[in-house]
């Protein structure tokens, strides 16, 4: 089939797999088929080695020691910001803040922008947001009298932009949306939404947790004001996330956390804030994780984000065909999608499906995918099964998934 040729022409998953130690293990005596990449991806050797090297050879704190190890660590950690800035097309490394994860990045934006909001101001989200892009705004709204509204999702699983246009007004202070839905796989037209937000004087925040790891992303091209993503979903370590923001906005914003390293001077009465990005990185930062994340970005760049996206989209098309050909399988989300497929395989509850697949060494996600409002209230499902792909997955693994689903349906048939 053309899609297979297409995918293989860009990237060789069989070769790339060899660089991911965890992929060679077995589960229940079967070869691991890891299809839960939307939750977290496996890590390549180069990332593990980069972090290991830091701990073994130049472990020390950054930005303070006047000694060789600290200088080496500082150089590596600071330049990690530069690598990530390049990876997402940011103008300056000082616009790249390392946090704990996407969730913390979004909390940072919400908390630090709070003084600029007043009662009655509106925050516009979408119905397809992850909890991390709902709950922080919901809480601010409750505590400070803001109004949260949601752009609806159409039956096809895409954003209703006509409705969005009607919802935007002078009251709208901020629009925050996911770039790629972690449930539907929808790729949202961020550039268009950001333009609409700016036309009304609102800021635009992007949850890029499911896009930055899987496709070329340029913050300049998106035209957004903030972009948040996680390291562990892009072949990097856990414990590190990124917030990118425009310099002029970050400079005006209040710090999120207070303490060491985020100050330039402190007296008993007051403190002055450090320059960007350190103003937002209080305390000893995620040094090993920053070094690991930069290595992951180099690894992905070496493969090519275009190739990764083409490969994953070909896998998603193959999965839709393979699963869609099974009786009783309903696939959610639009035809044009990122590399993930959420589905319901009648009569098997997604949790039972996940348990049965696990017996064959196949790892998928089952549940509400941290997007309960979308899954329960919009799609009207108690839970969904999801297979999500990465650069190392193969067509054969998807065939194994489809066979496993068929087998599970038989058990319950």
């Amino acid at each position: 089939m053309t899609m297979t040729t297409h995918a293989n022409a860009g990237l060789r998953p069989e070769e790339l797999r060899k660089q991911f130690p965890a992929l060679s293990r077995t589960v229940n005596g079967k070869k691991l088929v890891y299809l839960d990449n939307g939750a977290t991806t496996q890590k390549p050797l180069c990332v593990l080695e980069a972090m290991d090297r830091y701990y073994r050879e130049y472990n020390s704190n950054v930005h303070r020691g006047i000694h060789r190890l600290s200088e080496e660590a500082t150089e590596a950690y600071d330049s990690a910001h530069e690598t990530i800035a390049g990876f997402i097309g940011a103008h300056s490394w000082q616009e790249v803040i390392f946090t704990k994860n996407t969730t913390e990045s979004l909390n940072l934006v919400a908390r630090s922008l709070l003084p600029t909001f007043k009662k009655g101001d509106e925050v516009l989200l979408t119905q397809m947001e992850h909890h991390s892009n709902i709950v922080p705004w919901q809480q601010l709204a409750k505590q400070h009298g803001l109004v949260v509204r949601y752009i609806p999702v159409t039956d096809e699983g895409i954003l209703d932009l006509l409705a969005a246009r009607k919802m935007l007004s002078a009251k709208t202070k901020l629009v925050s949306l996911t770039h790629v839905s972690n449930v539907l796989g929808t790729i949202n037209p961020v550039r268009e939404v950001a333009g609409m937000a700016h036309d009304h004087g609102a800021l635009c925040v992007v949850d890029a947790a499911q896009s930055v790891p899987h496709m070329p992303v340029s913050v300049q091209e998106l035209g957004c004001d903030f972009l948040a993503f996680s390291g562990h979903k892009m072949a990097g370590p856990t414990g590190i996330g990124v917030l990118w923001g425009r310099t002029e906005l970050l400079e005006r914003m209040q710090p999120f956390l207070y303490g060491g390293d985020m100050i330039s001077s402190v007296s008993f009465q007051d403190a002055e804030w450090n320059e960007l990005p350190w103003k937002f990185e209080a305390g000893t930062p995620v040094i090993a994780e920053g070094i690991g994340l930069a290595e992951a970005a180099r690894f992905l760049t070496g493969i090519g984000m275009d190739s990764i996206q083409r490969h994953e989209q070909a896998l998603a098309r193959h999965a839709c065909e393979a699963l869609g050909s099974l009786k009783g399988v309903r696939i959610f989300g639009p035809r044009e999608r990122a590399g993930l497929v959420s589905f319901w395989a009648d009569p098997v509850h997604p949790h039972d499906l996940a348990s049965l697949l696990d017996q064959d060494g196949i790892a998928i996600r089952a549940g509400h995918h941290c997007a309960m409002p979308l899954v329960v209230e919009v799609l009207k499902q108690p839970a969904l099964a999801r297979a999500s792909f990465y650069l190392y997955n193969t067509k054969e693994e998807i065939d194994a998934l489809a066979a496993g689903v068929k087998k599970a349906q038989k058990v319950f048939g």
Partner: protein, 128 residues
């Protein structure tokens, strides 16, 4: 883990004590947000007010949650409230015929949790 043996599938497809109970002394509902499992158990006590005369459940969700609750209700019928307090998660594993891993333990125990919360609330209202 050989979780999906015939006995479990039988309880899932033909749940025992499924339905509504008229004149229940107490009823309690639990929801497992991570799965979407839902269980509601209604209990009617006998004249001594210390023993389960009748109980029924209504629920929806995965096979583990529904089958474990079906098995639990069969087990609980005729037991005293004191005996219900002594049911452990190991007892549930015994009914299921296997241990349940961390990923599914909430599913296996939602029935027990629902029943015992109901019992505790009833006792808390000074019926105990």
């Amino acid at each position: 883990m050989d979780l999906y043996r015939e006995i479990l599938l039988d309880h899932y497809k033909n749940p025992r004590n499924f339905g509504k109970l008229k004149d229940a002394d107490f009823e309690h509902k639990e929801f497992n947000a991570s799965c979407g499992d839902e269980i509601s158990i209604a209990v009617k006590l006998d004249a001594s007010r210390k023993r389960v005369a009748e109980l029924k459940f209504i629920g929806k969700g995965c096979a583990i949650s529904q089958a474990a609750t079906s098995m639990l209700t069969s087990h609980a019928k005729g037991k005293t409230l004191e005996e219900l307090h002594n049911i452990t998660k190991e007892d549930i594993f015994k009914m299921l015929g296997t241990e349940v891993g961390a990923g599914r333990i909430k599913c296996a125990l939602i029935g027990l949790k629902t029943l015992m919360r109901g019992v505790e609330q009833w006792e808390g209202e000074k019926h105990g």
